[in-house]
């Protein structure tokens, strides 16, 4: 008994020494409800004054995810800088987590990334389908209609009849619901390009006419018209169209997207090359 008492007293001293050397630091206890609220706020705060992908930004997201990992947008936000900077495996993981938590919002968005950033057309189509299924309707992601983007994806897969179906579906619905002026001009551009691939040149040219009403200076329209004129042997008209293309192109009116090259984007070299071919044909025929 005496021995155990001595032991007990010694233990007290050890504990006292331990408490003496280890200050108990303040730590605020947050309720589950508050943590959920703060997780959303940290998601916002991460991008408030920190550069995207920076350590401070990521630290906000890690803290938020410890509080509430169910927020799909948090996982998506982790993925954003990875998409823009070519870190593919991490993009795939983080967007996968976001889609798993909220397919209605993020499946279509991931499809948009597969389409434009990776040209992974089959995955893009699958995601647009998944998003539409979750929403019960043809949805929009990044402001773009899923039928429209499915159309571009099928164009990328060289499945031009299916591309036309999807693009027409989007175009017809937009005209019916909002009016022809609300159709995305690039849907008409890709419709025209699909028609060219299917050798339906007259229909393609009519489609470019429709597109011109929406975006009169889009140099892509004049470039592809010039190509068609050249194919038909209408060299003078082709040169005239190339001149217009060159003007509008130099003013920056051509199909492009931030971060990535679009499908069948035109370059100055394309215009130069076409003009060279036309001039060569003229000199050859003369």
């Amino acid at each position: 008994m005496v021995r155990s008492l001595t032991y007990f007293h010694s233990l007290l001293i050890i504990l006292a020494l331990a408490s003496f050397s280890q200050k108990e630091w303040y730590k605020k206890e947050l309720s589950e409800e508050i943590e959920k609220q703060y997780a959303k706020q940290l998601l916002e705060g991460g991008s408030y004054s920190s550069y995207q992908g920076s350590v401070p930004e990521q630290m906000h997201y890690y803290e938020a995810i410890r509080m509430d990992s169910s927020i799909a947008e948090l996982w998506r936000e982790f993925g954003t800088a990875r998409v823009k900077r070519g870190i593919l495996d991490e993009m795939y993981y983080f967007y996968g987590e976001a889609v798993e938590r909220d397919p209605a919002v993020w499946a279509g968005f991931r499809g948009y990334l597969y389409l434009y950033f990776y040209r992974d057309f089959e995955r893009a189509i699958a995601d647009f389908n998944l998003g539409d299924q979750a929403n019960g309707q043809v949805d929009y992601s990044q402001g773009q209609n899923h039928d429209y983007m499915r159309g571009i994806a099928y164009y990328g897969l060289n499945n031009y009849p299916q591309a036309l179906d999807q693009l027409n579906s989007y175009i017809d619905q937009t005209i019916e619901e909002a009016g022809a002026e609300w159709v995305d001009v690039y849907a008409l551009l890709y419709k025209g390009l699909s028609l060219i691939k299917l050798d339906r040149i007259d229909e393609a040219l009519k489609t470019f006419d429709e597109a011109e009403k929406i975006y009169p200076k889009l140099s892509d329209l004049f470039y592809h018209r010039a190509r068609m004129a050249f194919m038909k042997g209408e060299y003078t008209q082709a040169l005239e169209l190339i001149g217009i293309t060159r003007n509008y192109f130099s003013e920056g009116y051509y199909h492009q997207r931030p971060y990535v090259e679009v499908l069948d984007q035109i370059y100055l070299q394309d215009i130069d090359q076409l003009e060279g071919e036309v001039r060569e044909a003229i000199s050859g025929s003369g």
């Binding site: 007290l12 006292a16 992908g53 401070p56 630290m59 900077r85 070519g86 593919l88 971060y259």
Partner: protein, 376 residues
Amino acid sequence: MKLTQFKNLAIFCLLLLGCKQEVSDHPVFKYFPSEDVFREGYVSKYYYHFYPNDKGRDAATEISYIKYVKLDEVRYKTETYNAGFDLESERNFLLEGDSVILEYGSQTSLYTPADTNDYVIPAKTTATWDSEKQSPYQVQYTFGEQDYVYTEYQKSVYDTLIKDQPAKAFINTYDYKKVGQDSVLDGGNIKTLYVQGLGFFGAESQGDRYARQTELIEQMSIEEFEKRSKHGMHRVAWIDPENTISDDSDFKICGHERAIADYYNSDPDGRYIHTKQAMLDTIKAHLDESKLFDQSGRLVFRFVVNCEGKAGRFIAEGYDMSYQKMTFRQETIDHLFDIFQKLKEWRPTVIRGKARDAYFYITFNLENGKIVNILP
């Protein structure tokens, strides 16, 4: 009870008494942690909450750390760090009676940490603890490329209790202006709290655009703070200059490591100067498809283009068609990298009219030994 046991108990009691946190009787320091803690230094972690008056906008919370160290009987200093543990600002305070005077303050540039801007402090008394304060506190600082002036008027101070501890509450008004301009960017009322044993406990303000709340989340020793600050994290897509596939002996970045931007930070984007088509032409002209070996996947070259448009610090990362890491044959990497070396001139990223170093990447999409796309 034997003598030994009595001695043990006596020692225990003495230790407990000794462990009792020593509260300063100084009118200001008594609202900080105990003398021994303050002298050694401690770090408080805060959440800064922003609640926009416009209810259509989302509330936001930022993380910040403040390190406090007592320098002598009348001085202490603070260092503020962001969520990534980067130093943002330093302040030195002097106590004159119950007045707290900002002797010195400076702000550290996030992207060039060697650059600091000293505050201009037209009115240095930040607070008086037990008496009415007549004069305002005013400080000028730089944020981005703009100089701002912050002014605070102490309206009242009173004693209160927080978590059963004696506390001091200050009621002030504040406003922010651009230097040289009269219009107020934001202003309102602010309540600031100091709690005995804890120090700066938080603040609440209601401004023209936001309600703000500063909330003490936790405190820690400097040792713990330094342990956390050694997190080993880097910005997304950081390239280790010591671990590249390129000979970078002649490659120099123009700015600080932290200031390396991204190709998309400028409009137009930083990219190959002779257009993408010219880049594709160069690649096609030199490509030997036999060196692609029927492989499929995505081979990503990431690199840095400095402010002079020179590329360096190349790394190669391979992914399969399911976006998982894979290893491409070394001959393939070497061959494509050799072609890359022929692309000499890059258009650097330009931010606010100044060419900057920036990270770039190019992805080769390969299908059965053919390059099907080069992105972005």
